[in-house]
């Protein structure tokens, strides 16, 4: 078995990102789309930590710390918006939320 190097981590990260991306495009439930977004964020985190490890400093890890913080804030706000939306439209299905259309 080949030894694990940076490239492996990056590929794993990319695959996870692609999964998130596909989820955002395919799923219609706003909550699941949101979860897919979290997957994409985590993919980025993984890439940053791997870079940190192979660069020999901790700046990448500090960056991931900030990303996690921002993600927490983002989740809070995003979920609040979804709740508010649900109160109004009684749905979280983005197919039915087409009021932005001309």
């Amino acid at each position: 078995m080949i030894p694990v190097v940076l490239q492996h981590y990056l590929v794993v990260s990319a695959v996870l990102f692609s999964l998130g991306l596909a989820g955002v495009i395919i799923r219609r439930n706003a909550l699941v789309i949101f979860m897919s977004l979290e997957l994409m964020l985590n993919a980025a985190n993984l890439a940053l930590v791997a870079f940190s490890r192979y660069n020999g400093n901790l700046h990448g890890q500090v960056f991931v710390f900030f990303i996690i913080t921002v993600a927490a804030a983002e989740v809070a706000v995003g979920l609040a918006i979804i709740v508010a939306l649900f109160r109004r439209r009684k749905t979280v299905n983005v197919d039915e939320l087409t009021s932005m259309r001309l």
Partner: protein, 161 residues
């Protein structure tokens, strides 16, 4: 030992991620997401980023996912009805994701091989960097959290105008 752990955590995490986007029930999706977060924390451990692994579990698997589950329960969502298969949406998502993946793989293949440097992300090391070099961003982050908190309180008011 490290390599075996990497493969285990990676494959498990990717499977969990796949199940997140394939589950019809949002609750299942959320649970698989928690699982993915845990395996991600495992990967962080393999990468010797111990502090982040703990944060990952605490913040993501703990706080964030609890919030998700809370909202799912709160909204009392039924599992999605089987709908007619949307080939355009499905195909588009697959194609775009695949194209992205292919390109990233191309780039990664061309990269030179480098050896891992022995840095360890202990709480002390990360904290030292955070409170010295990144002090200002750290403090600004607290403001960001405050803003997010106020925003959420405002958004959650029932008679939102």
């Amino acid at each position: 030992m490290h390599d075996q752990l990497f493969w285990f955590f990676s494959i498990a995490m990717l499977l969990s991620g796949l199940l997140v986007i394939l589950s019809r029930n949002p609750v299942n999706s959320a649970m698989f997401l928690v699982l993915a977060m845990f395996f991600m924390a495992g990967l962080f451990v393999v990468l010797e980023a111990y502090f982040l692994a703990i944060i990952q579990v605490l913040v993501y698997a703990g706080a964030v996912m609890v919030l998700f589950l809370f909202v799912i329960m709160f909204l009392d969502l039924k599992s999605e009805q089987r709908r007619r298969f949307r080939i355009l949406s499905f195909g588009g998502g697959i194609v775009v994701a695949a194209a992205f993946l292919v390109k990233v793989h191309d780039v990664v293949e061309d990269m030179p091989l480098v050896a891992a440097k022995g840095v360890v992300g202990t709480t002390e090391a990360v904290g030292r960097l955070l409170f010295t070099h990144y002090l200002l961003p750290f403090e600004v982050t607290s403001v960001l959290l405050l803003v997010a908190m106020i925003g959420v309180v405002l958004l959650s008011k029932r008679d939102l105008k």
